[in-house]
């Protein structure tokens, strides 16, 4: 931040500027069920869970600088323990239903203490590989321990009413999940702002220095790992609570991957970045999956575009844009429009290409060609029938790509320059002399 920026905006105003949008967002979320059908409400429940999971995950990455490739274990273990507690309530235990996610959180926290102690002995790739190994070992045991974890049929239970709250309707589940997600995120925020949070950031930057300041970094990292696992477990518990069932498939790699992708897309460097990523990808998977069979490919491409062009994720871009707006530099509208047009053309071109290829290579397309006697029967994309072999279609696609490339060309140049600048800023420390 440049000092001038600070001078013109008082801290109180800055805080207000941050709090007001958050309050508005929260208000919208609270009012949401009035305007939403069951499917969207369910999607938002999943968004909350994914957001909390990603936030827990990002404590490890964004704060402590450790990338785990096996966080599904803690998410799933939280879910398992929550469903077991739910089953116990069903059998008459007096455990209060509203505290169920804490059961999952606590269980995963304890597991995280053990796993984290081992994993944080190393850093970087080695740390990541230890998390993978632990995940594989846990998965192997869990998948065979049917009496405990229910095998691939899973454990099912049912939400029991607690006092006045029935927990039978999805709307109850939504408010419940939202509340716990907000609690979880607040918890992480306080942790980040606490003295301990400062030390954790210190570990990410210069671990050895922290050690030589008298902090036991291994113990601290273990604690961070466990808290991260605990929050993830809480999210898992919310999932178990929502689905009223768990499954050993939760322990598989997919749930480790998703949270990583969410964090990258949202941006690990901004506190609420993972929430942005979780929201986008969850809704994308929830709705686009029904529109096209190739949604995973689109998601993968989006992921790669973000890794290459926006290394700090979408929220990173947002923060940059916000700073730019508040500074006095003029907004380069021309460039923005050009870029937008370029990316739009590229995206359309990609979608057209993929959908056409996808349709043409289907065996049923061959059958259609044979039965209709037309070599290249039309394919519907965007509700329009396209002749896949017609020069008009192919030329159109080529035009989209070349237009996109043309529009983005200067964009690519500036992007490269920005990237170089950013890289410099990240490398940060001036080189020591010879």
């Amino acid at each position: 931040m440049d000092p001038k920026d600070k001078a013109t905006h008082s801290p109180a105003r800055a805080a207000l500027l941050r709090l007001v949008p958050l309050a508005l967002l929260l208000g919208a979320l609270v009012a949401l069920p009035r305007f939403s059908d069951m499917a969207f409400l369910n999607a938002m429940v999943l968004v909350c869970i994914a957001a909390l999971y990603a936030m827990g995950y990002n404590l490890l990455w964004g704060q402590a600088g450790l990338i785990s490739f096996g966080h599904a274990t803690y998410f799933a273990f939280g879910a398992s323990c929550t469903i077991m507690t739910m089953a116990a309530i069903e059998r008459g235990s007096s455990f209060p239903t509203p505290l169920l996610p804490l059961a999952g959180g606590a269980a995963s926290f304890l597991m995280g203490l053990v796993a984290g102690w081992f994993a944080t002995i190393r850093t970087g790739v080695y740390f990541a590989m230890i998390t993978v190994a632990i995940t594989e070992l846990v998965r192997a045991i869990v998948q065979r321990w049917d009496t405990m974890f229910g095998g691939e049929a899973g454990i099912t239970s049912i939400r029991m009413a607690w006092g006045p709250i029935g927990f039978q309707k999805l709307i109850d589940v939504y408010y419940f999940t939202l509340a716990w997600t907000v609690i979880g995120i607040l918890l992480l925020w306080f942790l980040q702002r606490s003295p301990l949070g400062t030390v954790i950031r210190g570990i990410r930057e210069q671990e050895e220095r922290v050690r030589f300041l008298g902090y036991d970094t291994h113990a601290l990292k273990t604690l961070v790992f466990a808290i991260s696992a605990g929050v993830s477990g809480m999210a898992g518990g919310l999932l178990a609570f929502t689905n009223e069932s768990t499954n050993v498939a939760l322990y598989e790699g997919a749930y480790s991957t998703t949270v990583l992708i969410n964090t990258v897309i949202g941006g690990a460097g901004v506190f609420l970045g993972p929430v942005v990523g979780a929201t986008l990808t969850t809704l994308f998977g929830y709705y686009v999956a029904n529109l096209t069979y190739y949604w995973l490919l689109y998601m993968g491409l989006l992921f790669m575009v973000i890794v290459v062009c926006a290394p700090r994720g979408i929220s990173g871009l947002g923060v940059d844009a916000f700073r730019r707006l508040r500074s006095d530099a003029p907004v380069p509208w021309g460039r923005i429009v050009r870029q937008a047009a370029g990316w739009l053309a590229m995206a359309l071109g990609c979608i057209m290409t993929i959908e056409l290829i996808g349709a043409v290579v289907q065996p049923s397309y061959g059958a259609l060609a044979r039965s209709s006697g037309v070599a290249w029967p039309p394919v519907r994309v965007f509700g329009i029938s396209w002749m896949p072999a017609s020069p008009l279609t192919l030329g159109g696609i080529a035009l989209l790509f070349s237009f996109g490339a043309l529009m983005l060309r200067d964009g690519v140049v500036t992007a490269r320059r920005n990237v170089a600048k950013l890289a410099e800023a990240i490398a940060g420390k001036p080189e020591p002399g010879p």
């Binding site: 190393r122 790739v125 190994a133 993968g300 990237v419």
Partner: protein, 311 residues
């Protein structure tokens, strides 16, 4: 004794297959410090490339085309993608290869469908190489092993006896130093990356005829390859070979064990420690996770791996 020999041979051949895929990865990892997640995808691409081209130019031609084509894919991935994010550090490179892994799998699904394609052992290679007791050892398993050994010695000789090999070895040890000596490290990087990918492509072309050539191929071998690289030690070809063989033999023998967890608990005098439902589980059914257990031990006690010399 025969059974032992057969198990040993099977283990060695499987180990050699794993080595084929890990060889390129370990070089790339050693030199660039990046675990290339997409490496196993190159292995998958190799199988598909060999399947496609083999229909027109025969099996052996398919092997060559697959090797070259995947090498090119590797080269382009490095120059067009990886290089763009290098300045952001290893994390970003890792994530990019992760995305590439994802996209390549989906692309193959788009083009070839989700089910396996008919890339299989050519009938003229389907004969018995030799017999041990009652077991007959098929020729193409031998071929898989031989390709791997050839690859090992070829790569080893290239690293050992050529000038480029010298630069590569030096760059694995001290990248900045080599750069400072005026060598064009980026070009060496690209070249090495392409060669590493080509090796994976060859491995896929050879292994794809035995293993189902499907989009899931990369997933199935993916993580085991990382395990080999980590256990073997950063950038060490010898270490990777040793680790691959160890893992191959270990899994081969583990599936022959009929003991259960219950037996283990009883043997440890913990018979009373009843973990209901777990004691009847056979060790052979968890043979697949043994490599991970081994990796965990290596990482905790000797993070530099078998042959590594950098902590």
């Amino acid at each position: 004794m025969d059974a032992f020999l057969v198990a040993l041979l099977n283990g060695l051949v499987y180990g050699l297959l794993v080595f084929m895929v890990s060889a390129g990865l370990t070089l790339v990892f050693g030199m660039m410090g990046v675990l290339n997640f997409a490496h196993a995808s190159f292995y998958m691409l190799g199988a598909y490339a060999a399947f496609l081209s083999g229909r027109y130019i025969g099996f052996w031609g398919g092997l060559i085309v697959a090797t070259l084509a995947v090498g090119l894919v590797g080269l382009f991935s490095e120059r067009l993608l990886l290089r763009k994010v290098r300045s952001f550090g290893h994390t970003q490179e890792l994530l990019l290869t992760y995305g590439l892994f994802f996209v390549l799998e989906e692309l193959v699904k788009l083009l070839f469908g989700p089910t396996p394609v008919a890339y299989r052992v050519p009938d003229e290679l389907r004969f018995t190489a030799f017999t041990i007791g009652n077991s007959q050892f098929p020729f193409f398993r031998l071929l898989m092993g031989a390709t791997a050994l050839l690859m090992f010695f070829g790569t080893y000789a290239a690293l050992r006896f050529t000038r480029i090999g010298l630069i590569v070895r030096a760059a694995v040890e001290r990248p900045q130093m080599v750069s400072a000596l005026g060598h064009n490290v980026p070009i060496v990087f690209s070249g090495l990356f392409a060669v590493g990918s080509a090796l994976a492509g060859l491995a896929g072309a050879v292994a794809g005829m035995y293993y189902p050539t499907s989009p899931a191929m990369a997933h199935e071998l993916g993580s085991i390859v990382f395990v080999v690289v980590v256990i073997g030690g950063l950038g060490s070809l010898n270490g990777a070979l040793a680790a691959s063989l160890l893992i191959g033999v270990m899994t081969s023998f583990a599936v022959g064990v009929e003991s259960t967890f219950g037996d283990l608990f009883r043997a440890l005098g913990l018979g009373g420690l009843a973990l209901p439902g777990l004691e009847a589980v056979q060790f052979s059914s968890i043979a697949g996770v043994l490599p991970y257990a081994l990796m965990l031990l290596v990482l905790l006690w000797r993070p530099a791996g078998f042959a590594g010399n950098r902590a």
